[in-house]
Symmetry: C2
Subunit: 356 residues, 2 copies
């Protein structure tokens, strides 16, 4: 009998299986989740609706009710909305229908690692423009790459994970106007910036916007994301989604969260933003630390103490952060999610000890 693993594509066999360090801690500031759980009102209403629903029946073929609620929430047309099993699935679907051998994907690094990974698995060529020295988008360099290399897809994470910078609408419009390919804006953290590029969709049929329920919407456990784009583009991306990709429970929780956003979630977002600003000011005053201003619910911090050591020392204090020193340009940085006031206080106290 021959070795069945020989049938696995060599590019796949060469990939390291994606893993995450299994560390756990009481103060969890490593994944940019909301530090507060979904509210009792949201949980109760979701569980109530699911208790009354048949679990033995397939979910809606197209989650039309959710699409309509998302359209109203985002200010876009429901035919241009596509919900998925986390925004990761939608990013993968968009790249599946556009990227293969000979296709080029432009990104600005350091950024969310999934873009490069999926584009590579699909056989595409990744073009990367670094952020500028202040860890902001280098719009001139991006524009230059678009004009020179004509990428099929340009992906801008804005606010950017892990650095927190946001691209201005004016800058984005120069890219949209210059690009012959698609321009994707990942707005996973837009709620914390108070701004969105959705109003640009009407004028730019080459724009696609991704959003998630895993951050401000406090539903990371349930894996819901959505895409906003011109209806024709959304339809093509939808061809790469498997039937019934979104389960009924996550669909229900997302609907309830959108319905209750103003009362239950918007105040939490404002609280997190206020804590972000407080955390930034406090960390600025710690000798040896230099936090980078962020539009998201996290920030990177330059540290005179090696990031790996900061990580380990905080973990000893039961605080989990993200060591991002392996990212390009971030050799001296760690990333912290904004926690509750108490969690942020513990983080600040721990860092003062470590840096002191």
């Amino acid at each position: 009998m021959s070795n069945p693993l020989e049938k696995i594509k060599s590019a796949v066999r060469g990939l390291r299986a994606y893993t995450l360090s299994p560390e756990r801690a009481s103060v969890k500031l490593n994944q940019n989740e909301s530090p507060w759980d979904a509210s009792e009102a949201i949980k109760r209403e979701t569980l109530r609706r699911m208790g009354g629903r048949a679990w033995n029946r397939y979910p809606d073929f197209v989650p039309a009710a959710l699409h309509e609620k998302l359209a109203a929430f985002a200010g876009w047309k429901s035919e241009g909305v596509l919900a998925g099993n986390g925004s990761n699935e939608l990013i993968q679907a968009l790249l599946m229908v556009t990227v293969g051998e000979g296709r080029r994907v432009l990104i600005s690094e350091p950024t969310f690692a999934l873009y490069r990974q999926v584009a590579t698995v699909l056989g595409g060529e990744v073009l990367s423009v670094p952020l500028d020295a202040g860890l902001q988008f280098d719009v001139a360099a991006l524009l230059d790459s678009i004009r020179t290399n004509d990428p099929d897809v340009t992906i801008i994470c804005s606010p950017n994970n892990p650095t927190g910078c946001r691209m201005s609408d004016g800058a984005l419009e120069t890219l949209l106007a210059a690009a012959r390919g698609l321009v994707v804006v990942d707005e996973a953290y837009f709620e914390f910036s108070g701004e969105t590029v959705v109003p640009l969709l009407e004028r730019h049929p080459n724009l696609a916007v991704f959003r998630t329920f895993s951050k401000a919407m406090a539903l990371a456990a349930l894996r819901v994301g959505y895409l906003l784009a011109a209806p024709e583009l959304a339809r093509e991306v939808g061809k790469a989604l498997l039937p019934y990709n979104l389960n009924a429970f996550s669909q229900t929780a997302a609907e309830v969260s959108v319905e209750m956003y103003d009362g239950e979630l918007a105040p939490v977002v404002r609280h997190i933003v206020a804590e972000r600003e407080r955390l930034f000011e406090e960390l600025r005053r710690v000798p040896g630390l230099a936090p980078v201003a962020s539009r998201a619910n996290f920030m990177v911090v330059r540290s005179t103490v090696e990031p790996k050591r900061v990580f380990d020392e905080l973990l000893r204090r039961d605080i989990l952060i993200r060591d991002v020193s392996g990212y390009p340009m971030l050799a001296d940085y760690f990333r912290v999610s904004v926690g509750t006031p108490r969690e942020n206080d513990l983080l600040i106290a721990g860092l003062k000890e470590i840096l002191g």
Copy 2:
């Protein structure tokens, strides 16, 4: 501005968006779901566990607790288990790591349409061996194709959707021994056959088995499937899954269902099997109908009245079945899922009127 749709791959643009007819009816016998909802005990315990869990936190990176329960349930090693967002996702993942231009996938048609669709989207060549005249697997022809064409992947749906035939373990072993590629057995309906090929996994590292929670486990709404294979093979397939592919609620419901299988689900499966046999005998006695014996929770029925007309006439009686006359070899057939006794009685009465 150029047309952004030009950036969509032409193979994708040529695909029809997968849709399902939006018909609804009180008696739903078109998707091979369990006719009984998950039990109150299973729902209550799932909702209880989820009420106490943080929704704002990502699910487990690897759902180890579920993998262990599935391993014990299936009689296999937990390192060789991979849970996903429906078995569709796992089928796609296995094909993604094995199929591309120049690769060959052997299937036996008529069968579940997803295999051909995904293999085609991935650029593979689909080889198809028809069922024999009695709608059973043509093992000699499959063996011949394996020897002649050396397919990279062979997919056997057993019991087969939509015809209900099961391949014997002996026949499967001749394919496994002859194949240099992977042999995939989709056991979506194995509970209704009372048999499984899992004991063959130990001796055949080129075998992969797929299962689902959407049929006998009565959780179609929640989208859970799993793969059983040699640990090395499972690890390679896992590389094509996106991180956090399985949400916490579906994971929890699956764990509870496995824990409660013997008391809550096994009796339901036995009831469905008994109803299948009763339905078969009743339909045999309807002049103009010839049901095909099935090992699953559905059957195809040859009909002297055109299947499309049977479909329409049943829909007028508020009964939804599946018109499979578009499948190869099934021009004269419709498919019915086995319902509750009352639903089956309504189906039989309706068919007697239509054929009478």
